[in-house]
């Protein structure tokens, strides 16, 4: 943990990180995220620098999407796979002038670092920067207004996945337009020694939200949450993360396995569902007409929908919206995403 939070903050262990799950009331944090804007402590995301003469070639090999021409003013989300096509992590890759900066998903830094070092090439330096850099996020339909008040209004209207090296309070930061929840989203990569100041300055404009509110809002727009969706023997297609892989690339770690999965057309598919009053555990069986067709990946209580919302992994032919299924005795309905329409989609940045 880099930032300090109020005493009644509820923390939790997520992978290798201890993160604030909620600062107060989940429901209230969620509503502010969907209605206005929140600050996010993303210090559980590890920053890993890839540099050296072969940095781009290496990144092109370990990332499943095309980063050959990722300039220092762009970032993109990509999966990192192992040889068997299993998800190692889902990263945000920032182009840098002398290589790339990878931001792990929450709590997955150690695993990612270990994988990168295992497949590392000559001419590549892989450095864990989490001791000197951390990440603060902003998310919400009016997050752009916060950017204007906090740093510079010009940055607010950056295109999605654009990056700008900028200065806040005489400190050099990397500013990016990102977004996990379908709302306007921004990230600020800041030196650790200035992170507390930036966090406090941010809190002059918005309240914070914890990991629970963030992940709920991510689920509602079907933003993959790797720690909850990639456990077990599942491939990219079963997870539904095809968009984080580019099979037109010549080569990347895991490509053959992904292609094989594409060609086999076998396996299960992931679909959202809602309904019921209880929250089923991961692995709970999903039934259609009494027949077992799959299992629950994970589920939560959705503040926005007022019911249970989750993902199920079921036989491919049944991964469609509008089906009436049963989970632990409760009737549920499969959904098409997004399950909640983000307010940002109807609010222009002015």
């Amino acid at each position: 943990m880099t930032l300090t939070h109020p005493e009644d903050t509820v923390y939790g262990q997520v992978g290798d990180a201890t993160v604030p799950l909620r600062f107060g009331d989940l429901s209230a944090e969620y509503k502010v995220l969907r209605e206005r804007a929140v600050a996010l402590d993303l210090s559980g995301h590890t920053l890993i620098e890839i540099s050296g003469p072969a940095a781009v070639d290496f990144a092109q090999r370990v990332l499943a999407r095309d980063v050959e021409y990722l300039t220092s003013e762009r970032c993109m989300m990509s999966l990192v796979l192992d040889d068997d096509g299993r998800v190692v992590d889902q990263v945000l890759a920032f182009g840098r002038e002398d290589g790339l900066l990878l931001e792990s998903s929450v709590g997955a830094g150690a695993r990612l670092l270990e994988h990168l070092r295992a497949v590392g090439d000559e001419g590549v330096e892989i450095a864990d920067r989490s001791a000197d850099l951390t990440v603060i996020g902003l998310e919400g339909p009016y997050a752009w207004g916060v950017v204007g008040r906090l740093i510079d209004g010009e940055l607010a209207s950056l295109p999605f996945e654009a990056v700008s090296d900028t200065v806040w309070n005489d400190v050099e930061i990397i500013f990016a337009r990102t977004g996990f929840t379908g709302e306007y989203g921004y990230q600020m990569i800041v030196p650790v020694e200035s992170a507390a100041d930036l966090w406090l300055a941010t809190l002059e404009h918005v309240t914070p939200a914890g990991q629970e509110a963030l992940e709920l809002a991510m689920l509602e727009v079907r933003q993959p949450i790797p720690r909850l969706e990639t456990a077990g023997d599942v491939n990219v297609i079963e997870i539904g993360a095809n968009w984080l892989v580019d099979v037109t690339k010549d080569e990347f770690v895991g490509k053959e396995a992904v292609l094989a999965a594409f060609e086999s057309r076998q396996g299960r598919r992931t679909v959202g569902f809602s309904g019921g009053d209880t929250v089923p555990e991961p692995g709970a069986r999903v039934l259609a007409g009494g027949e077992d067709i799959g299992e629950v990946v994970f589920a939560v209580r959705s503040v926005g929908l007022g019911t249970t919302l989750g993902l199920a992994r079921v036989e491919a032919g049944l991964a469609a919206a509008g089906l009436e299924l049963t989970v632990e005795g409760a009737g549920v309905t499969t959904l098409t995403s997004p399950y909640i329409v983000p307010k940002s989609w109807s609010i222009p940045i002015i």
């Binding site: 209207s157 950056l158 037109t248």
Partner: protein, 746 residues
Amino acid sequence: MALRPVVVTGLGVICAIGRNPEEFWHRLTAGQGGLTPIQDPAFEVFEARYAGQVPDEWVTGQLPEPDTALDRTAGLALIAARQAIAQAGLTGVDATRFGMILGKCQATPDAAGHYQPMHHTQDVIADRLGMRGPRILVSTACAAGGNAVGLAKDKIRAGEADAVLAGGVDPLLFGTYAGFAGLKALSTGPCRPYSHSDGLNLGEGAAFLLLEPLDLALARGAVPLAEVAGYGLSADAYHATAPDPTGRGGVSAMRRALADAGLTTDDVGYVSGHGTGTPANDAMEAKVMRAVFGPRAGQVPTSSIKSFVGHTLGAAGAVEAVAAVLALRDGIAPPTIGFDADAVPGDLDFVPNLARKLSTDTVVSNNYAFGGNNVSLVLTTPGPDREWAEPAPREVVITGLGPVSGLGAGIAETTEAVLARRHALGARPSLEGRTFAPRSLWRHMNNLSRMAIAAARLSWEDAGLKLPRKELDDVGLVFATGAGSAESTGGFDDSIAANPNKPAVLSFSNVVLNATGGAVCQTLGLRGPTTTICNGGASASIALTCAVEMIRDGKADVVLVVAADEHVGVVPQDVFVSPYDRDSGRVPGSAAVAFVVEAADHCAARGGSPYARMLGAGHVSGPFDGLTGLAGLTEPLDLVVGAATGGDDDAEEAASVLAALPGVPLTASAGLTGDCQAATGALNIVLAALAIRDGVAPALTGLATPVAGGLADYLSRPDLPEPARRALVLSSAPGSVRGAVLLGAI
């Protein structure tokens, strides 16, 4: 000491609200708009019907008998051009010192409806007006008119002309209307920029400004109307049609223009906005105003005369520059009409509905275009005659070569092909095996953009350039093309023919000639000064002179020149092509060729190794007149790379060269690749640079019966006995412009 002041001494305009500057200005200041429903029944298929149209009688009524057969585009341009010359009272000027820079967005049809070369309108007007000086067709879409005024100032400052007619023209075309309708960019009523931004109206028209050096204007008793104090160009490097929402492209254009003028934002008293009325444009412009003027933004009135005349595309920047000159002269800001009285009062002053008195000596006129091209012009109250200095000399070198043709991709493959005497007549370049841009962009790109981006990247890599982001913001790009993307133009036209309400919008965004240059900027992240030149086979040599001027004027240290043209359809087979041979035919080809132009001091500081030094360049226009007026003819030369394409124009070039430069071997490259228009012009420059550094040049291996002289007058071996010390490169758009570029060893 300041550089030579350049002034406007004559104005001409014809558009929806006036057949001449007086009528135009009267209606602007009286708030009388000219947007009306289109009566042509062909347009009834569209929901949006308003446009800024020029009544036919305004055109026919101002064209004397010999000009009545001209197509509408030429008619509009000729009317405005004559007005500007008449107001300036310009007579007896040396034809070779009288130039024209014309902005034009669309390829326009002749009277029979067939597309003409981009520069055709310009040739018709310039030839009728007896102009034989610099002739440039600039096609930066909706920024072209303003861009033309800036380039004209450069040509005068560079000493290439004593008078330049700068302006723009575009007619209202059905296809373009369908394209904008397809993009959902048209307002169904008269457009209402800045208050009710629901879309634009297209318009038509032409406008010219006559530019002269202040000293010459005063010497002949002319009355300066305004000084063209500065201009700025920039590239968004963001998107094919949408403006960068942060407004940073518009901001840097305005800042560069003010820096060029030696002024600050505090000097500016009025801004003529681009003001199309689309939500994306209007929102972006507001950001530009706030970013540039800061807390003063609300005190600087800004208005859009497109609310009167619609968007006249390539003419818009010139029409608006005319209005800006008149605003400065009379101290009146024209209003934005149709301004919603109920609009929530914002922080900016859009001069709603009523003209306003101004008290300022400095106005700015802004234009933003498809392809992410931005231009800002700074106009000031004319000052007195004063001392001025020539621009400081700055050595310029060519540091990277990126030819992409049927011969190969990159200078290594091309060198090998030239040495092996390989031919690839009309063959399309193969780009298999490598993408030169992020795949997400690459897969949506047309062939011309792919070729151009490959060429640009290969030249960049060849130059060994590795620049940090901050420096890329100032790297310039000059794109040269004869006809742009034939693939996209054809695809768009076919879609319109099939159903005007279902245009191929992706193709439409690539129909503008500067689209490919914009794609290069977007891919390489270049945001420096950028423009697009469309003068057929002479485009690349003109582009090179523009690049040199950008560097010499301190606007950039590195400028990429990228030339690209393509042939779609069948390539004639079994045609013998050997430039300068009596039996040679001509075969069209496809290629993109880029080269890096760099300040010698910048190259030295980074340890680069240049191919060649720029020793000089010049262009003449009008009917062929031997090599008269071209640069470099008095220097001792080792090689001449001619503009020959294998066609009928080769003979007079060969005869002229052999007469003027006896004993210097002559060669050309079109026998290797076919005639790739602008790209062939660039390939000749690239191969001359290669001959200088590496001693390799394209040989005329098939030449048997020369059109002039004997075989010994032509280059017969690709491996030169020693690298050339000086090489002259000729370029030609037959019947229009010819140029010469002189390169020398380092």
